[in-house]
């Protein structure tokens, strides 16, 4: 088994207005999805959610406001899954709730940093 990082990208979610019931529904969706991955013993770490605030540091002492890349899209969080291959990890990512709000998931293989 290898480990893969799932990087969740979308428009800043705070800007999508949700009722309290809406928020509950979204977190239930995420919890069920993550719980389903964990039930297969394929969750290495639920990782973390990231807020909407951010700064980007570039060469030449340039700091820009916001976590945005070129378009208005931010990394909303990341988790680490266990899978045999990047194909399997991608398959798991296909049911990620971020896709329901127009976001996307980047699946990346993890390079182990253990001592030689």
């Amino acid at each position: 088994m290898k480990e893969f990082a799932l990087i969740y990208r979308s428009e800043p979610l705070g800007e999508i207005k949700l009722t309290p019931e809406g928020t509950m529904a979204v977190s239930k969706e995420w919890e069920n999805w993550m719980g389903g991955i964990a039930a297969q013993n394929k969750l290495v770490s639920p990782g973390m959610r990231l807020g909407n605030e951010g700064r980007t540091v570039k060469p030449g002492n340039i700091v820009t406001n916001g976590p945005y890349a070129e378009i208005k899209e931010i990394v909303g969080g990341l988790s680490i899954f266990r899978a045999e291959s990047i194909e399997e990890a991608t398959e798991m990512a296909k049911s990620c709730p971020i896709l329901n709000v127009g976001g996307n998931v980047e699946v990346r293989d993890i390079i182990q940093m253990n001592a030689q």
């Binding site: 239930k28 919890e31 069920n32 993550m34 719980g35 389903g36 964990a38 039930a39 297969q40 013993n41 969750l43 639920p46």
Partner: protein
């Protein structure tokens, strides 16, 4: 009372108290001697009381004899043993009279300290449980062997190795400093949790013994909750979990020893006092901002004492299982989560999730699929239940499964 009934009763209540005090006094390297002295004390009681009659205060008699034997040992040991424990060194330097303190306070302190010493991560969990049963609960080797479904020799070997390891690693019998309690208590709680489960899910035929294991685990956990320095939120959460489970003791075993599944239990047999206690400890557990797996499991157990089948209940249970799995994977939690998911989203959704679990070697996995396919595809249900009946080791479980198959074939 006849001494034939009295002695086993005293053995159950006093052996562990005297042993813990002597262990602490002698040091970890002399656990076996402490056990032997207490064992000899009971032998002497059996011999003496048989023809002299039972003394007025039998427990005090035991304490006095054990004290004298302990003092004799310390004196002898101080003379010819060079590798003396601190307690013995102290004894030989200061005075010939050693204080063997069998006051209830010292008994409690000694038991707590022994709990931390025994639940030492350097020895395997089954040895920690075995030693706890022997030293902290006063179980005989036969009873421990019965609880583990193995023989005396295996248990004796296991305990011997564990004691040697404790000696080798010079484990101290003392309360960890306050700053370290949080770290060390995790392991104590794991052992108590396993001890309880050993009783609750035991495949031993001896139902009384199984219940005793659970009660002992609860007693030890309660000791931690009573002590200010160990009265932590997760201790209360574990105790709450145990209370909720234990509330169903009488409802889950039929008079003929057969296991009664949750769905078929007679609610009037649930013990309301234990449920109330469970709620109390769950509230105590909520102080502080730690959410341990015991909190989540206690909350799941709480919902199982509530109404049998409300939609709210299964939504909550599913959510709790999701969170539990995110903290720590276990096959049982994965199966239970899937059951709850089927209760909320229907059997077909449950089947799709279940088939991802890939636990083909587990009887419970096939049992679950058998349950979920029932009414959806009865042929598949029968197939899975048949596999489950072949995989299960417990005769009581097999009986329940075979009944279900019969019902499906008839229907």
């Amino acid at each position: 009372m006849q001494e034939k009934e009295l002695i086993p009763q005293l053995y159950r209540s006093e052996f562990r108290k005297i042993t813990a005090v002597l262990c602490r006094l002698f040091g970890i390297e002399h656990i076996s001697i402490a056990e032997d002295i207490v064992g000899d004390t009971f032998l002497l009681a059996a011999e003496t009381w048989g023809f002299k009659g039972i003394p007025q205060n039998p427990a005090a008699w035991l304490y006095t004899v054990a004290k004298n034997k302990a003092k004799d040992f310390l004196k002898r040991n101080a003379i010819y043993n060079e590798k003396v424990s601190p307690a013995i060194q102290l004894a030989s330097e200061n005075t010939n009279e050693v204080e063997v303190d069998l006051s209830s306070n010292n008994i409690k302190d000694s038991q707590l300290q022994m709990m931390f010493a025994i639940c030492y991560p350097g020895i395997p969990p089954e040895s920690q449980i075995g030693l706890s049963l022997r030293i902290l609960c006063g179980f005989s080797i036969d009873e421990i062997a019965d609880a583990f479904l193995t023989n005396k020799e295996t248990i004796n070997k296991r305990l011997y190795r564990a004691k040697e390891k404790l000696k080798e690693d010079k484990v101290k019998i003392e309360m960890p400093p306050d700053a370290e309690i949080d770290k060390r208590i995790d392991n104590v709680l794991i052992t108590l949790y396993l001890l309880f489960n050993e009783g609750y899910y035991s495949s031993s035929k001896n139902a009384v013994l199984s219940k005793d294991l659970c009660l002992e685990a609860m007693r030890l956990t309660y000791m931690l909750a009573e002590n200010t320095s160990t009265n932590k939120p997760d201790v209360n959460a574990l105790l709450s979990l145990m209370c909720f489970h234990a509330s169903r003791f009488d409802a889950r075993i039929a008079p003929d020893g057969e296991l009664i599944l949750y769905d078929d239990q007679d609610i009037s047999l649930w013990n309301n006092e234990l449920i109330t206690n469970g709620e109390h400890f769950l509230n105590m557990a909520a102080r502080g901002n730690v959410v341990s797996k015991y909190h989540i499991e206690a909350a799941i157990a709480y919902w199982h004492t509530a109404d049998k089948d409300s939609p709210e209940k299964w939504e909550k249970v599913l959510s709790l299982y999701n969170r539990l799995l995110i903290i720590e994977y276990s096959p049982i939690a994965a199966l239970n989560r899937t059951y709850a998911l089927a209760k909320v989203y229907g059997n077909e959704a449950g089947i799709a999730e279940a088939e991802k679990l890939k636990l083909e070697n587990s009887n419970l996995y096939h049992g679950l699929l058998g349950e979920l396919y029932t009414g959806v595809d009865n042929k598949k249900a029968i197939d899975h239940l048949t596999t489950a009946s072949k995989l299960t080791k417990a005769a009581a479980d097999r009986k329940v499964i075979l009944k279900k198959i019969e019902k499906l074939k008839a229907g």
